[in-house]
Amino acid sequence: MEPLIEFLKLIFTALVYPGLAFLTILGLVSQWYRRKLIARLQNRVGPKYVGPAGILQPFADIYKLLFVKELVTGAYTPARLILYLVILGIVALSASTALLPLTPLYIRAEYDVLVFIYLTFYASIAMSLIGLGSVSPYPGFGGVRYATMLLVFEPVIAISLISMVKVLAPNTLSLADALSNPGILRAQQPLQWIFHVATIILAAISFSIALLSKTMLKPFDIPEAETEIAGGYLAELSGPALGLSILLHEVEISLYVFLFANLLIPIPPILPAPLSIVMSLIKYFIVLTILVLVAYSMGRLKLDQALRALIKVPLLLSIISLALSFTI
Protein backbone atom coordinates (compact mmCIF):
# COMPACT_ATOMS: atom_id res chain seq x y z
CA MET A 1 0.00 0.00 0.00
CA GLU A 2 2.82 2.39 0.92
CA PRO A 3 4.53 2.35 -2.53
CA LEU A 4 1.15 2.91 -4.24
CA ILE A 5 0.43 5.98 -2.10
CA GLU A 6 3.94 7.30 -2.80
CA PHE A 7 3.39 6.78 -6.52
CA LEU A 8 0.02 8.59 -6.44
CA LYS A 9 1.64 11.49 -4.59
CA LEU A 10 4.32 11.64 -7.31
CA ILE A 11 1.63 11.73 -10.02
CA PHE A 12 -0.17 14.54 -8.13
CA THR A 13 3.14 16.43 -7.96
CA ALA A 14 3.74 16.02 -11.70
CA LEU A 15 0.21 16.79 -12.87
CA VAL A 16 -1.10 19.37 -10.39
CA TYR A 17 1.29 21.16 -8.06
CA PRO A 18 4.05 22.19 -8.69
CA GLY A 19 3.77 20.31 -11.98
CA LEU A 20 1.53 20.67 -15.03
CA ALA A 21 -1.39 22.76 -13.68
CA PHE A 22 0.82 25.16 -11.70
CA LEU A 23 3.35 25.55 -14.52
CA THR A 24 0.58 26.10 -17.08
CA ILE A 25 -1.02 28.88 -15.02
CA LEU A 26 2.36 30.43 -14.20
CA GLY A 27 3.49 30.17 -17.83
CA LEU A 28 0.34 31.77 -19.25
CA VAL A 29 0.24 34.55 -16.66
CA SER A 30 3.91 35.19 -17.46
CA GLN A 31 3.10 35.29 -21.17
CA TRP A 32 0.48 37.98 -20.49
CA TYR A 33 2.98 39.89 -18.32
CA ARG A 34 5.70 39.57 -20.97
CA ARG A 35 3.37 40.70 -23.75
CA LYS A 36 2.22 43.71 -21.69
CA LEU A 37 5.83 44.63 -20.91
CA ILE A 38 6.93 44.35 -24.56
CA ALA A 39 3.87 46.31 -25.66
CA ARG A 40 4.80 49.13 -23.26
CA LEU A 41 8.37 49.11 -24.69
CA GLN A 42 6.95 49.41 -28.21
CA ASN A 43 4.35 52.05 -27.30
CA ARG A 44 1.39 49.65 -27.68
CA VAL A 45 -1.34 48.53 -25.29
CA GLY A 46 -0.87 44.75 -25.43
CA PRO A 47 -3.57 42.20 -24.44
CA LYS A 48 -6.62 44.17 -23.34
CA TYR A 49 -10.06 42.62 -23.84
CA VAL A 50 -10.22 39.16 -22.20
CA GLY A 51 -10.34 39.36 -18.39
CA PRO A 52 -9.18 42.26 -16.24
CA ALA A 53 -6.39 44.10 -18.13
CA GLY A 54 -6.38 41.26 -20.67
CA ILE A 55 -4.84 38.74 -18.24
CA LEU A 56 -7.00 35.88 -19.57
CA GLN A 57 -5.99 36.44 -23.22
CA PRO A 58 -3.24 33.70 -23.24
CA PHE A 59 -5.70 31.27 -21.56
CA ALA A 60 -8.32 32.06 -24.23
CA ASP A 61 -5.76 31.57 -27.03
CA ILE A 62 -4.67 28.16 -25.73
CA TYR A 63 -8.26 27.05 -24.97
CA LYS A 64 -9.36 27.98 -28.49
CA LEU A 65 -6.49 26.06 -30.11
CA LEU A 66 -6.76 22.97 -27.88
CA PHE A 67 -10.41 22.36 -28.69
CA VAL A 68 -10.19 22.77 -32.45
CA LYS A 69 -11.35 19.44 -33.91
CA GLU A 70 -9.44 19.64 -37.19
CA LEU A 71 -5.67 19.84 -37.39
CA VAL A 72 -4.57 21.36 -40.71
CA THR A 73 -0.99 20.43 -41.50
CA GLY A 74 1.55 19.90 -44.30
CA ALA A 75 1.31 16.97 -46.69
CA TYR A 76 4.12 14.96 -45.08
CA THR A 77 3.96 16.12 -41.44
CA PRO A 78 3.50 13.25 -38.93
CA ALA A 79 1.08 15.39 -36.90
CA ARG A 80 0.09 12.77 -34.28
CA LEU A 81 3.72 11.92 -33.57
CA ILE A 82 4.56 15.60 -33.18
CA LEU A 83 1.59 15.95 -30.84
CA TYR A 84 3.01 13.15 -28.66
CA LEU A 85 6.50 14.68 -28.66
CA VAL A 86 5.15 18.03 -27.53
CA ILE A 87 3.07 16.45 -24.75
CA LEU A 88 6.10 14.40 -23.67
CA GLY A 89 8.16 17.60 -23.49
CA ILE A 90 5.52 19.31 -21.33
CA VAL A 91 5.10 16.29 -19.02
CA ALA A 92 8.88 15.85 -18.65
CA LEU A 93 9.20 19.51 -17.62
CA SER A 94 6.32 19.03 -15.18
CA ALA A 95 7.88 15.84 -13.76
CA SER A 96 11.17 17.67 -13.17
CA THR A 97 9.35 19.99 -10.71
CA ALA A 98 9.20 17.02 -8.32
CA LEU A 99 12.83 17.91 -7.55
CA LEU A 100 11.94 21.43 -6.37
CA PRO A 101 11.15 21.81 -2.64
CA LEU A 102 7.76 23.48 -3.21
CA THR A 103 5.68 20.82 -1.45
CA PRO A 104 6.51 18.31 1.32
CA LEU A 105 6.30 15.59 -1.41
CA TYR A 106 9.48 16.66 -3.22
CA ILE A 107 12.19 14.13 -4.08
CA ARG A 108 15.86 14.66 -3.36
CA ALA A 109 19.05 12.69 -3.95
CA GLU A 110 22.71 13.44 -4.34
CA TYR A 111 23.54 14.76 -7.83
CA ASP A 112 19.84 15.20 -8.68
CA VAL A 113 20.71 18.40 -10.58
CA LEU A 114 21.83 16.04 -13.36
CA VAL A 115 18.36 14.45 -13.38
CA PHE A 116 16.82 17.91 -13.76
CA ILE A 117 19.12 18.75 -16.69
CA TYR A 118 18.30 15.39 -18.29
CA LEU A 119 14.51 15.74 -17.93
CA THR A 120 14.37 19.31 -19.20
CA PHE A 121 16.44 18.27 -22.22
CA TYR A 122 13.33 16.43 -23.51
CA ALA A 123 11.71 19.82 -24.14
CA SER A 124 14.65 21.03 -26.25
CA ILE A 125 14.65 17.81 -28.25
CA ALA A 126 10.87 18.14 -28.78
CA MET A 127 11.28 21.75 -29.98
CA SER A 128 13.88 20.85 -32.58
CA LEU A 129 12.01 17.71 -33.67
CA ILE A 130 8.79 19.72 -34.21
CA GLY A 131 10.69 21.63 -36.88
CA LEU A 132 12.84 18.85 -38.31
CA GLY A 133 9.98 16.33 -38.25
CA SER A 134 7.49 18.58 -40.05
CA VAL A 135 9.10 17.70 -43.41
CA SER A 136 8.56 21.15 -44.82
CA PRO A 137 11.06 23.92 -45.62
CA TYR A 138 10.16 26.68 -43.14
CA PRO A 139 9.77 24.40 -40.10
CA GLY A 140 12.89 22.58 -41.32
CA PHE A 141 14.89 25.81 -41.22
CA GLY A 142 13.49 26.60 -37.77
CA GLY A 143 14.31 23.12 -36.47
CA VAL A 144 17.81 23.23 -37.89
CA ARG A 145 18.43 26.65 -36.41
CA TYR A 146 17.23 25.47 -32.99
CA ALA A 147 19.23 22.23 -33.20
CA THR A 148 22.34 24.18 -34.16
CA MET A 149 22.00 26.58 -31.23
CA LEU A 150 21.19 23.65 -28.94
CA LEU A 151 24.75 22.37 -29.43
CA VAL A 152 26.02 25.43 -27.56
CA PHE A 153 23.27 26.55 -25.19
CA GLU A 154 22.57 23.15 -23.61
CA PRO A 155 26.19 22.67 -22.40
CA VAL A 156 26.25 26.29 -21.16
CA ILE A 157 23.00 25.82 -19.22
CA ALA A 158 24.18 22.51 -17.79
CA ILE A 159 27.62 23.83 -16.78
CA SER A 160 26.35 27.06 -15.20
CA LEU A 161 23.52 25.24 -13.39
CA ILE A 162 25.98 22.73 -11.96
CA SER A 163 28.33 25.54 -10.83
CA MET A 164 25.50 27.41 -9.08
CA VAL A 165 24.28 24.25 -7.36
CA LYS A 166 27.88 23.33 -6.44
CA VAL A 167 28.23 26.66 -4.61
CA LEU A 168 24.84 26.43 -2.89
CA ALA A 169 24.93 22.69 -2.04
CA PRO A 170 28.63 21.78 -2.19
CA ASN A 171 28.42 18.31 -0.64
CA THR A 172 25.33 16.88 -2.31
CA LEU A 173 24.89 18.71 -5.65
CA SER A 174 21.18 18.41 -4.93
CA LEU A 175 18.77 20.95 -6.41
CA ALA A 176 16.44 20.71 -3.40
CA ASP A 177 19.34 21.36 -0.99
CA ALA A 178 20.57 24.29 -3.08
CA LEU A 179 17.11 25.88 -3.01
CA SER A 180 16.00 25.08 0.53
CA ASN A 181 19.28 25.24 2.44
CA PRO A 182 21.78 27.31 0.43
CA GLY A 183 25.38 26.77 1.56
CA ILE A 184 26.37 30.34 0.70
CA LEU A 185 24.92 31.35 4.05
CA ARG A 186 27.36 29.04 5.84
CA ALA A 187 30.58 30.44 4.29
CA GLN A 188 33.12 30.79 7.11
CA GLN A 189 35.63 33.32 5.77
CA PRO A 190 35.05 36.60 3.87
CA LEU A 191 37.32 35.41 1.04
CA GLN A 192 35.29 32.24 0.63
CA TRP A 193 32.10 34.29 0.53
CA ILE A 194 33.55 36.59 -2.17
CA PHE A 195 34.52 33.54 -4.28
CA HIS A 196 31.01 32.12 -3.87
CA VAL A 197 29.36 35.35 -4.98
CA ALA A 198 31.77 35.72 -7.94
CA THR A 199 30.97 32.16 -9.08
CA ILE A 200 27.23 32.77 -8.83
CA ILE A 201 27.50 36.03 -10.80
CA LEU A 202 29.59 34.45 -13.60
CA ALA A 203 27.27 31.45 -13.79
CA ALA A 204 24.22 33.73 -13.73
CA ILE A 205 25.47 35.84 -16.66
CA SER A 206 26.20 32.76 -18.77
CA PHE A 207 22.98 31.04 -17.71
CA SER A 208 20.81 34.04 -18.54
CA ILE A 209 22.28 34.47 -22.04
CA ALA A 210 21.93 30.74 -22.74
CA LEU A 211 18.39 30.86 -21.32
CA LEU A 212 17.40 33.57 -23.82
CA SER A 213 18.56 31.32 -26.65
CA LYS A 214 16.97 28.18 -25.20
CA THR A 215 13.63 29.92 -24.80
CA MET A 216 13.96 31.71 -28.15
CA LEU A 217 13.54 35.20 -26.72
CA LYS A 218 15.20 38.11 -28.52
CA PRO A 219 17.95 38.39 -29.75
CA PHE A 220 17.90 34.60 -30.19
CA ASP A 221 14.41 34.18 -31.66
CA ILE A 222 16.10 32.84 -34.78
CA PRO A 223 14.21 29.49 -35.00
CA GLU A 224 10.79 31.18 -35.21
CA ALA A 225 11.81 34.42 -37.01
CA GLU A 226 8.36 35.31 -38.34
CA THR A 227 9.43 37.88 -40.91
CA GLU A 228 12.09 35.56 -42.38
CA ILE A 229 10.81 32.01 -42.16
CA ALA A 230 7.10 32.45 -41.44
CA GLY A 231 7.13 31.31 -37.81
CA GLY A 232 9.83 28.70 -38.42
CA TYR A 233 9.32 25.46 -36.51
CA LEU A 234 5.60 26.19 -35.95
CA ALA A 235 4.74 27.00 -39.59
CA GLU A 236 3.00 23.70 -40.44
CA LEU A 237 1.12 23.28 -37.15
CA SER A 238 -2.40 24.30 -36.21
CA GLY A 239 -5.10 23.42 -33.66
CA PRO A 240 -4.05 21.34 -30.63
CA ALA A 241 -0.50 20.78 -31.94
CA LEU A 242 0.08 24.54 -32.21
CA GLY A 243 -1.61 25.22 -28.85
CA LEU A 244 0.48 22.60 -27.06
CA SER A 245 3.69 23.81 -28.75
CA ILE A 246 3.01 27.33 -27.47
CA LEU A 247 2.25 25.87 -24.04
CA LEU A 248 5.54 23.91 -24.10
CA HIS A 249 7.39 27.13 -24.84
CA GLU A 250 5.68 29.00 -22.00
CA VAL A 251 6.11 26.16 -19.50
CA GLU A 252 9.82 25.94 -20.36
CA ILE A 253 10.32 29.68 -19.86
CA SER A 254 8.48 29.74 -16.55
CA LEU A 255 10.25 26.67 -15.11
CA TYR A 256 13.73 27.85 -16.06
CA VAL A 257 13.20 31.46 -14.96
CA PHE A 258 11.68 30.25 -11.66
CA LEU A 259 14.69 28.04 -10.98
CA PHE A 260 17.16 30.70 -12.10
CA ALA A 261 15.55 33.43 -9.96
CA ASN A 262 15.70 31.27 -6.86
CA LEU A 263 19.29 30.14 -7.43
CA LEU A 264 20.43 33.69 -8.20
CA ILE A 265 18.72 35.16 -5.13
CA PRO A 266 18.99 32.26 -2.64
CA ILE A 267 17.69 34.32 0.30
CA PRO A 268 15.05 33.60 1.55
CA PRO A 269 15.27 29.88 0.67
CA ILE A 270 12.34 27.97 -0.83
CA LEU A 271 10.38 26.00 1.73
CA PRO A 272 7.03 24.22 1.31
CA ALA A 273 5.15 27.09 2.99
CA PRO A 274 2.76 29.65 1.41
CA LEU A 275 4.80 32.74 2.39
CA SER A 276 8.02 31.21 1.06
CA ILE A 277 6.34 30.35 -2.25
CA VAL A 278 5.00 33.91 -2.56
CA MET A 279 8.55 35.21 -1.98
CA SER A 280 9.94 32.88 -4.65
CA LEU A 281 7.26 34.08 -7.10
CA ILE A 282 8.21 37.70 -6.39
CA LYS A 283 11.85 36.81 -7.19
CA TYR A 284 10.58 35.09 -10.35
CA PHE A 285 8.75 38.19 -11.62
CA ILE A 286 11.71 40.48 -10.81
CA VAL A 287 14.10 38.28 -12.81
CA LEU A 288 11.56 37.83 -15.64
CA THR A 289 11.14 41.62 -15.89
CA ILE A 290 14.89 42.20 -16.14
CA LEU A 291 15.36 39.40 -18.69
CA VAL A 292 12.50 40.63 -20.90
CA LEU A 293 13.56 44.29 -20.72
CA VAL A 294 17.17 43.40 -21.67
CA ALA A 295 16.13 40.89 -24.34
CA TYR A 296 13.55 43.03 -26.10
CA SER A 297 15.79 46.08 -26.30
CA MET A 298 17.84 44.14 -28.89
CA GLY A 299 17.18 43.07 -32.46
CA ARG A 300 17.41 39.53 -33.80
CA LEU A 301 20.90 38.15 -34.49
CA LYS A 302 21.85 36.00 -37.47
CA LEU A 303 22.49 32.36 -36.68
CA ASP A 304 26.28 32.45 -36.99
CA GLN A 305 26.42 35.72 -35.03
CA ALA A 306 24.34 34.07 -32.31
CA LEU A 307 26.58 31.01 -32.23
CA ARG A 308 29.71 33.14 -32.02
CA ALA A 309 28.16 35.25 -29.26
CA LEU A 310 27.16 32.11 -27.33
CA ILE A 311 30.61 30.56 -27.67
CA LYS A 312 32.59 33.72 -26.88
CA VAL A 313 30.88 34.90 -23.69
CA PRO A 314 28.57 32.39 -21.96
CA LEU A 315 30.50 29.22 -22.72
CA LEU A 316 33.75 30.75 -21.49
CA LEU A 317 32.15 32.29 -18.39
CA SER A 318 30.36 29.07 -17.51
CA ILE A 319 33.60 27.07 -17.71
CA ILE A 320 35.36 29.64 -15.49
CA SER A 321 32.51 29.52 -12.98
CA LEU A 322 32.61 25.71 -12.95
CA ALA A 323 36.36 25.77 -12.33
CA LEU A 324 35.89 28.33 -9.53
CA SER A 325 33.07 26.36 -7.92
CA PHE A 326 35.17 23.20 -7.76
CA THR A 327 38.36 24.92 -6.50
CA ILE A 328 36.91 26.83 -3.53
Partner: protein
Protein backbone atom coordinates in the same frame (compact mmCIF):
# COMPACT_ATOMS: atom_id res chain seq x y z
CA UNK B 1 16.78 6.59 -3.65
CA UNK B 2 19.75 7.62 -5.82
CA UNK B 3 19.74 9.98 -8.80
CA UNK B 4 19.65 7.14 -11.35
CA UNK B 5 16.56 5.64 -9.67
CA UNK B 6 14.81 9.03 -9.67
CA UNK B 7 15.68 9.57 -13.34
CA UNK B 8 14.28 6.12 -14.24
CA UNK B 9 11.02 6.65 -12.32
CA UNK B 10 10.43 10.18 -13.62
CA UNK B 11 11.23 9.17 -17.22
CA UNK B 12 8.89 6.17 -17.14
CA UNK B 13 6.19 8.27 -15.51
CA UNK B 14 6.61 11.02 -18.14
CA UNK B 15 6.38 8.60 -21.06
CA UNK B 16 3.27 6.87 -19.67
CA UNK B 17 1.50 10.09 -18.58
CA UNK B 18 2.25 11.68 -21.96
CA UNK B 19 0.69 8.65 -23.67
CA UNK B 20 -2.41 8.90 -21.44
CA UNK B 21 -2.79 12.62 -22.18
CA UNK B 22 -2.03 12.14 -25.89
CA UNK B 23 -4.66 9.43 -26.54
CA UNK B 24 -7.86 11.50 -26.04
CA UNK B 25 -6.46 14.54 -27.89
CA UNK B 26 -5.23 12.38 -30.75
CA UNK B 27 -8.47 10.40 -31.02
CA UNK B 28 -10.78 13.42 -31.21
CA UNK B 29 -8.57 15.37 -33.64
CA UNK B 30 -9.15 14.96 -37.36
CA UNK B 31 -6.16 15.66 -39.61
CA UNK B 32 -6.51 17.52 -42.90
CA UNK B 33 -3.44 17.66 -45.11
CA UNK B 34 -2.62 20.57 -47.40
CA UNK B 35 0.28 21.38 -49.72
CA UNK B 36 3.55 22.40 -48.07
CA UNK B 37 3.64 26.03 -47.03
CA UNK B 38 6.04 27.72 -49.47
CA UNK B 39 4.82 31.34 -49.32
CA UNK B 40 2.50 30.64 -52.24
CA UNK B 41 5.12 29.03 -54.48
CA UNK B 42 4.16 25.70 -56.13
CA UNK B 43 5.30 22.53 -54.42
CA UNK B 44 6.48 20.79 -57.59
CA UNK B 45 10.22 20.57 -58.03
CA UNK B 46 10.98 21.55 -54.45
CA UNK B 47 13.43 19.54 -52.36
CA UNK B 48 14.93 20.16 -48.92
CA UNK B 49 18.68 19.69 -48.84
CA UNK B 50 19.26 17.62 -45.73
CA UNK B 51 23.05 17.90 -46.22
CA UNK B 52 22.87 21.63 -45.51
CA UNK B 53 21.49 21.29 -42.00
CA UNK B 54 24.81 22.02 -40.31
CA UNK B 55 25.83 25.11 -42.26
CA UNK B 56 25.98 27.48 -39.28
CA UNK B 57 28.14 25.12 -37.24
CA UNK B 58 30.37 24.68 -40.26
CA UNK B 59 30.68 28.42 -40.76
CA UNK B 60 31.69 29.00 -37.14
CA UNK B 61 34.12 26.09 -37.02
CA UNK B 62 35.21 26.62 -40.62
CA UNK B 63 38.93 26.18 -40.08
CA UNK B 64 38.59 22.99 -38.06
CA UNK B 65 36.04 21.71 -40.55
CA UNK B 66 38.34 22.33 -43.52
CA UNK B 67 41.24 20.58 -41.80
CA UNK B 68 39.00 17.62 -41.06
CA UNK B 69 37.63 17.53 -44.61
CA UNK B 70 41.16 17.76 -46.02
CA UNK B 71 42.51 14.97 -43.87
CA UNK B 72 39.57 12.68 -43.31
CA UNK B 73 37.35 12.78 -46.36
CA UNK B 74 39.99 11.70 -48.84
CA UNK B 75 38.52 8.26 -49.26
CA UNK B 76 41.70 6.65 -47.89
CA UNK B 77 41.41 4.84 -44.56
CA UNK B 78 45.05 5.48 -43.66
CA UNK B 79 44.45 9.27 -43.65
CA UNK B 80 41.75 8.90 -41.05
CA UNK B 81 43.93 6.56 -39.01
CA UNK B 82 46.92 8.94 -39.17
CA UNK B 83 44.72 11.80 -37.93
CA UNK B 84 43.24 9.82 -35.07
CA UNK B 85 46.51 8.15 -34.00
CA UNK B 86 47.68 11.00 -31.69
CA UNK B 87 44.31 10.94 -29.88
CA UNK B 88 44.42 7.20 -29.54
CA UNK B 89 47.94 7.47 -28.10
CA UNK B 90 46.77 10.11 -25.59
CA UNK B 91 43.90 7.81 -24.55
CA UNK B 92 46.34 4.92 -24.22
CA UNK B 93 48.66 7.08 -22.11
CA UNK B 94 45.73 8.11 -19.88
CA UNK B 95 44.76 4.46 -19.47
CA UNK B 96 48.31 3.52 -18.47
CA UNK B 97 48.41 6.41 -15.94
CA UNK B 98 45.05 5.42 -14.44
CA UNK B 99 46.01 1.76 -14.20
CA UNK B 100 49.39 2.61 -12.64
CA UNK B 101 48.12 5.18 -10.16
CA UNK B 102 44.87 3.57 -9.10
CA UNK B 103 45.79 -0.05 -9.63
CA UNK B 104 42.79 -0.59 -11.89
CA UNK B 105 40.13 1.28 -13.86
Amino acid sequence: MDALGIATILTTMSIVLALILWLPISLRTRIRRTELYLSGEPQSGFTVRVTEISWAVRRVFERIYEILIGHVQTGIFNDWFALSLPYLLILLLLLVIVVTVRGGV
